[in-house]
């Protein structure tokens, strides 16, 4: 076995110490970390740039369509408002109580020996009330007034639901009036009429509908 003599021991140790110099190693480490950080930053910056490009593309697409969408939204709102307004107005129109047909039916009930002096009516949403004041002449003036009441009940009952025709007052007057050359006694009457503005069949079917709803 050959014998090795290390005559440069001190120099080699110094060289090793120089190689393991912490300052030098630290500087290398710092440079490596710095390089990694820069690389990572560049990678992130690239990603951000890509996102920016994507954003500008979407913004461009949106700016092209935005005006149309805003106009469509506005038009849509206007149309919805208009449709609902028209629906409400139509329902108001349908719910109106029409006095023309009622006056036509009333005129059909008035016989020549009966006179209407005052007709006062008011129409609410669910009830129409009419007060008819007048005079009736005949051998039996009360019977003439009753005939008018019955005719009113019959005529109005054909067109309106829940019709009630009742005398408020009915009294004989002392005076006589001339009807077709004959003096006849006179009675003064006041008739109260109440009715529902709905046609009779609408009211008749209403309970059936509500019963069906309950069944479901």
């Amino acid at each position: 076995m050959a014998l090795h003599l290390n005559l440069l021991h001190e120099e080699i140790t110094e060289q090793r110490q120089r190689q393991r110099d912490p300052l030098k190693l630290g500087t290398f480490a710092l440079i490596a970390i710095g390089a990694l950080m820069v690389l990572f930053y560049v990678f992130k910056a690239y990603q951000t740039l890509e996102t920016k490009n994507r954003l500008s593309g979407v913004q461009h697409e949106w700016s092209g369509i935005e005006a149309k969408v805003t106009a469509a939204q506005k038009r849509s709102r206007e149309l919805t408002t208009m449709v609902s307004t028209t629906r409400v107005l139509d329902s108001m129109i349908e719910k109106r109580f029409l006095w023309g047909p009622l006056l036509a039916r009333l005129s059909r009930c008035v016989a020549p020996n009966v006179q209407l002096v005052n007709v006062a009516g008011s129409a609410e949403e669910k009830l129409v009330s009419i007060t008819i004041d007048g005079i009736a002449a005949g051998r039996e003036p009360r019977a003439a007034a009753e005939e008018l009441r019955q005719l009113l009940s019959e005529q109005l009952g054909q067109s309106y639901a829940e019709t009630k025709v009742e005398f408020k007052t009915l009294e004989d007057l002392d005076t006589l009036i001339n009807v077709s050359g004959t003096n006849m006694p006179v009675a003064r009457y006041s008739i109260n009429v109440t009715l529902s503005p709905k046609p009779p069949e609408a009211v008749a079917t209403a309970p059936v509908t509500s019963a069906a709803r309950v069944k479901r």
Partner: protein, 190 residues
């Protein structure tokens, strides 16, 4: 056996300074470089998501508006017709002359109309519309003519509803009646 690293005082100071420098560098890097970059990217991503959602819903919105436009054809015509019932200007300026002309056309002279009041309607859909109350006075009318005229009026003015009616016989002319009507009209605010 690892050799012991002997550090001089100067080297220790340099190492400490380097460590502080490294910490400062990392702090600056994270807070002034990487942080804002990430924040900006996150904000852009959020904007993209928002815009894409808007784009997605806008297509549906436009399709809905188109279909609504087609479906609302009848309602549009009807609405325009109802609007056209009331001309421009204050109702008190044109409604009384219109009533006078209407009843004169129906052989009922001396008709007069005066405004009772105007109120807002309770329905939220009709916030742009008002309810006007009118007192229409017909001092001399024949019953059958009156009946026809009222029927014509109700047909011609769908937004008018007669709320009260009072027909009185004229004492000196029993063939004629004196009539008072309380009518409500719904009109668009102008």
């Amino acid at each position: 056996m690892t050799p012991k690293i002997k550090l001089s005082k100067d080297q220790i100071q340099k190492l400490a300074l380097s460590s502080i420098g490294l910490i400062v560098l990392v702090y600056v890097y994270l807070n002034f470089f990487l942080g804002p970059l990430n924040k900006s990217r996150a904000s852009m991503e959020a904007t993209i998501a928002d815009l894409q959602q808007k784009l997605g819903s806008s297509k549906g919105e436009m399709a809905r508006a188109d279909s609504l436009q087609r479906e609302a054809g009848t309602a549009t015509t009807r609405y325009a017709a109802l609007q056209a019932l009331a001309p421009e200007g204050a109702p008190i300026a044109w409604f009384p002359p219109r009533m006078k002309a209407f009843f004169a056309n129906q052989q009922i002279d001396k008709a007069g109309a005066r405004l009772g009041n105007s109120t807002a309607l309770k329905e939220p859909e009709l916030e742009a519309w008002s309810n006007y109350s009118w007192l229409i006075d017909l001092p001399q009318a024949d019953f059958s003519t009156l009946g026809n005229a009222i029927a014509q009026l109700e047909n011609a003015e769908p937004l008018l509803s007669i709320n009260k009616i009072n027909i009185r016989i004229l004492p000196d002319q029993p063939q004629f009646q004196q009539v008072e009507l309380t009518a409500y009209t719904v009109m668009q605010k102008k």
